[in-house]
Symmetry: C2
Subunit: 342 residues, 2 copies
DNA sequence: CAATCCAATGTAAGCGCTTACACTGGTTTT
DNA sequence: AAAACCAGTGTAAGCGCTTACATTGGATTG
């Protein structure tokens, strides 16, 4: 073995004076090997700096102990946090995580699914449930277990997430309870994004329930940036009559709205109320602090890991695990102005 | 092939009536195959839903087209942003990214390095340069090209990053130029973190240069949370004489400090100036907006990808690429109070 | 028209590993 | 004391792929 060659099982076997089978057993089922032998082998492993070749191992054992996760983007605190917990939980089970991002594109997600399948992942974590049937079909054909996270999905499939619709409805009810009647919403882009769509629907449902029809509830969809949130808020404030409460599909939009409100000289919540969704760090930092919905990403990541492991090892699992959300009341929601501006 | 079995090269070959070699060539070097054959093969690939097995491919070709990145944590906007660009650039070269996190622990980083090596990554991206020699030695022995990012490293190795020390010194000079003399610093934890250490040193250097010795420059190290930043700021404000400017090792600490300042009834920057570092989104959202140092993570991610690709394909490369930083003047830095409180 | 060449394809040898099965020799059982 | 057993180890057959080399037959050359 040259200085730069990667040592193989064979090298170790030769160095320890045993067969490759024994070395393999030392690594995978140490109990089968007598202590003296094992120590000799481990010594050889150590001095040679041997690490098993993943490809060879995967090929021979038809297992990879790898699970894949495809998220819309890494550049978003929401997914980052959940994924971090997911990974930690996974590693407790000896699995490693492969992460890829789809950039919110179903086509790119499909590509990544194939990449992961090629790599022989034992299971897969996807976000939400809005995707072409073909992607799902592919996974099923291959017999790769997978689950959706961050929401609760539809008819079939496995899910661990929260009920975005119910949470949004709950928050809306809280707003209504304060006496607001002229609501508006800045929603995230709903195309192929069930979280955003569900939140929008939740707000609409609750409004409807209170006798506020869709025609009286202006909704603007905006991309996930402060600027887009600010712009949408500007448009909403130009409306007449002006809304007294603006429900935002996520905290980033809400913070953008908040900035715009300051720019427009509107006091929050005296002149206009604003709510967010997700309770990212940001929410506690702006002034006033954001009233929002807390989504326990850590718990979700862990629950997802556990569920996927069970799915992979064919243990019985519940079809969906709901993670409860919670309204966090801080400073941006108050009663409507007594004499609302027109 | 049963409904649930993964189709192999052999299945495709049989279906298309060619040899496995031809199928392989269709996938890897299509030019070598005549169009008619290729179309027949591709058709078979399509109908069978074939995706090449990564393990088999890696084993046979001794290439993986995979590069690894080990970052301290995913749950940090700074790394997320750079990594996103890194990945995008990489995928333009047909490489896929494997991400792992070390949780700021050198031991865990070492483990992950071995995992990546096992998986046969063609190259590796690490953060910074502070790590046990053994980790570096391992990589070298294995002949795996790697580079450090986010800083500029030491004597040897490849780096693409910024000069944290110089940037911190530059910002400190700007603070001094406004007339501040009673400086203090809230640094990130410097243990095994050269970025934090360099920033601290930069501040100290510039202060020294202005005749302010280390004994006149209180420094507190704080973990990467708002709370820790706030706590440290509280301690600093209890000092007598009270600092008129607090330089923070990153934006998160600065925002924590800012909150604490408000809590203490101190006006920023009238009573005390605060500066950050990194220019994360947050910096533009707090009130007043943070004066900080912008670090172009996108450019860095791309430059890192390019450099690593060159390293892998043994093309000539520069040993270090410096990404310039920029001071972003916003609202938290002003002249010291005329009659500073004691 | 034989010799040569070359493009298109096939043949088959591994890549590094796991694991079913075979073997060995001591211990227990009958 | 022979039979049965078993713990510890070895032998060797692939896993799915790539690729050096061999083969084929039509086009080009002298």
């Amino acid at each position: 073995m040259s200085e730069f060659a990667k040592p193989t099982l064979d090298d170790v076997a030769r160095a320890a004076g045993v067969s490759t089978a024994t070395v393999s057993r030392c690594l995978n089922a140490p109990d089968l090997v007598i202590t003296a032998t094992r120590e000799r082998v481990m010594q050889a492993v150590e001095t040679l700096g041997y690490t098993p070749d993943f490809g060879g191992r995967a090929l021979a054992s038809r297992r990879t102990n790898t699970v894949g996760a495809i998220i819309p983007t890494m550049d978003n605190a929401i997914f980052a946090r959940g994924l971090q917990s997911f990974q930690q939980a996974l590693s407790r089970f000896g699995k490693t995580l492969l992460v890829a991002s789809s950039g919110y594109s179903p086509a790119r997600e499909r590509e990544q699914i194939e990449v992961m399948a090629s790599r022989g992942v034992d299971g897969m974590l996807l976000i939400g449930s809005a995707r072409p049937e073909a992607s799902v079909e592919f996974l099923r054909r291959r017999g790769i277990p997978f689950l959706g996270a961050w929401n609760l999905g539809g008819e079939d499939g496995y899910f661990v997430g929260f009920d975005n619709r119910a949470a949004a409805a709950g928050l809306t009810e809280a707003v209504l309870a304060l006496g607001h009647r002229r609501l508006a919403m800045i929603a995230g882009i709903t195309y192929m994004n069930d979280r955003a769509a569900d939140r929008m629907e939740g707000v609409r449902m609750a409004a409807e329930q209170a006798g506020i029809g869709a025609d009286q509830l202006p909704v603007i969809e905006a991309a996930y940036t402060f600027e887009d949130g600010a712009r949408a808020f500007g448009e909403l404030m130009a409306l007449s009559p002006r809304p007294t409460a603006v429900l935002c599909g996520n905290d980033v939009l809400a913070v953008g709205a908040l900035q715009k409100a300051r720019e427009l000289g509107l006091r929050v919540p005296e002149d206009v109320s604003i709510t967010g969704f997700d309770d990212i760090d940001l929410a506690g930092v702006v002034d006033p602090k954001l009233t929002t919905v807390r989504v326990p990403h850590n718990r979700m990541g862990e629950a997802a890991a556990e569920m996927l492991i069970r799915l992979i090892s064919k243990q019985p699992v519940e079809r969906r695990i709901e993670i409860p959300t919670e309204i966090i009341e801080r400073g941006t929601l108050g009663p409507p102005p007594a004499d609302p501006a027109v």
